[in-house]
């Protein structure tokens, strides 16, 4: 049995443009959601730490709701739910729904990671800043958040890797991305191994790229002596 019988690379090679497009779509969708979820996660963390109940209670509910329900359910809720809001009588594009749902989902996890980072910062750093007369806001922005983010970079990158894999779920609402490229081979040729193996290779490729980027970032940070402690 030769390789071509298990994995027909000649057929796959005819679909390379589709896969390249799919790979690109997965990359940029993930990137947009990553930036969005980091911003959302930070804002949620700030709100959760607030003394104001009207702010901290709803965002806590949001985090718990996201973490306790499946991503697919959240995606369907956004996709089908938005079209039922009377004011939005224009259909919202699937891609926009997908990016919104993924950002909304990942943001909750990012906020948990960032919150953990803040809790890992030594109490003395708060007191040191307070004792020189810094306001709460100055303390958080200048002292606490920079240290908290540095502590959780590995976890944030791990969550980013999960985000890339989760983005495959957008094929459920017919957004074209890497898995979608595989689905074209499946429907054209009925070749499931070629369809899904190639898509899997694509995800592996992105993962390896992220690993290299992650090592680069870690090295850069390790160069800063304070991190080596």
């Amino acid at each position: 049995m030769s390789l071509i019988e298990i994995y027909n690379y000649r057929v796959v090679s005819q679909y390379l443009p589709e896969f390249a497009w799919g790979l690109w779509a997965t990359l940029w969708i993930s990137f947009v959601c990553l930036i969005g979820s980091l911003i959302l996660g930070t804002l949620v963390t700030v709100a959760r730490r607030s003394q104001k109940k009207w702010l901290s209670v709803p965002v806590t509910a949001y985090v718990e709701a996201v973490r306790s329900t499946p991503l697919l359910v959240q995606l369907y809720l956004v996709y089908y739910g938005l079209s039922q809001i009377p004011v939005l009588n224009v259909p919202v594009p699937a891609l926009a729904c997908g990016i919104f749902a993924l950002t909304f989902h990942t943001g909750a996890y990012m906020s948990e990671i960032i919150r953990g980072g803040i809790e890992a910062v030594d109490r003395g750093q708060f007191e040191g800043a307070k004792a020189v007369g810094m306001t709460e806001r100055q303390t958080m922005i200048n002292i606490i958040y920079p240290q908290a983010f540095a502590k959780v970079i590995p976890s944030l990158l791990g969550q980013a890797a999960v985000l890339v894999k989760d983005s495959s779920i957008l094929s459920f609402i017919a957004v074209f991305e890497l898995l979608g490229a595989g689905l074209i081979i499946l429907s054209d040729r009925v070749m499931p191994t070629e369809a899904f193996m190639t898509a899997a290779f694509g995800y592996l490729l992105i993962y390896l790229m992220m690993l290299v980027a992650s090592n680069k970032i870690q090295q850069k940070l390790a160069g800063n002596a304070w991190k080596s402690r």
Partner: protein, 255 residues
């Protein structure tokens, strides 16, 4: 200059100060009970006593790191118990040195000293740099300007922390067991620095276990036990002949 003559200029006035902590299981702990004392301008006061006696709590209420349950503290006429008092502005005027230094871990020595100046005192970066480098040179630490705290010894970190507080040009310096976390061979360099500040006329309150230092450098000793101010006096008299049994027992143990 602690005998309360008319020309004495009182900087810190503590009146009927009590501090009550509530524990998680709803019990209350009286950390301070009806403490009355004062610190004159230019005076160096040592606060001593057994652990859990409330000496650190007393010090921490003086710059608002602990709230006041009852009574008043006035610093240069400003009432710390008054809810309208701008505590951040007050803290900028009261330097605090901690047992564990609390230097900003992600900033260099120089940045540790300049950041509070630019953020709180609103100095320009150039002004702050100038003040910081002058201080570092004075303290013989200028070669450490670009090091991160984790690259410094405990003694060096503590001296940088003192420089950070001094750069704010405080009216009062508080030291909360500033040498307790240091290796023995590094205690001297920090005490020498504090001694230099005393000579320069800085008003200081020190919670300390260094009895010899208290005897040698301080103008007055405050002895605390179980949240109460038990005795106060000039170090020579206090260490030679304490007037209370509690002070006597404590000194027997530590000397």
């Amino acid at each position: 200059m602690a005998d309360g003559t008319a020309q004495n200029d009182v900087l810190v006035k503590v009146e009927g100060l009590s501090k009550i902590f509530k524990t998680a299981d709803g019990r209350t702990i009286n950390a301070l009970t009806n403490v009355n004392t004062f610190v004159d301008r230019g005076e160096v006061v040592a606060i001593i006593g057994p652990s859990g006696s409330g000496k650190s709590t007393l010090l921490r209420t003086m710059n608002g790191l602990e709230t006041i349950s009852e009574g008043h503290i006035h610093i240069d006429g400003i009432d710390l118990a008054d809810k309208k008092t701008d505590m951040n502005a007050l803290r900028a005027d009261v330097g605090m040195v901690f047992q564990h230094f609390n230097l900003f871990q992600h900033k260099t020595s120089l940045e540790n000293i300049t950041l509070p100046q630019t953020l709180v005192r609103k100095r320009t970066k150039a002004e702050a740099d100038q003040i910081a480098m002058d201080l570092l040179r004075q303290l013989g630490l200028d070669h450490l300007a670009n090091n991160y705290p984790s690259q410094l010894s405990g003694g060096q970190q503590q001296r940088i922390a003192i420089a950070r507080a001094l750069a704010m040009q405080p009216k009062l310096m508080l030291f909360d067991e500033a040498t307790s976390a240091l290796d023995p061979e590094m205690v001297g360099e920090v005490l020498d620095l504090i001694k230099g500040l005393a000579t320069d006329g800085m008003t200081m309150c020190l919670v300390t276990h260094e009895m010899n230092f208290a005897r040698e450098v301080c103008d007055r000793v405050i002895f605390m036990d179980a949240g109460e101010l038990v005795e106060t006096g000039k170090p020579a008299e206090f260490f030679a002949k304490p007037s209370t049994d509690r002070a006597h027992q404590f000194l027997d143990k530590v000397l």
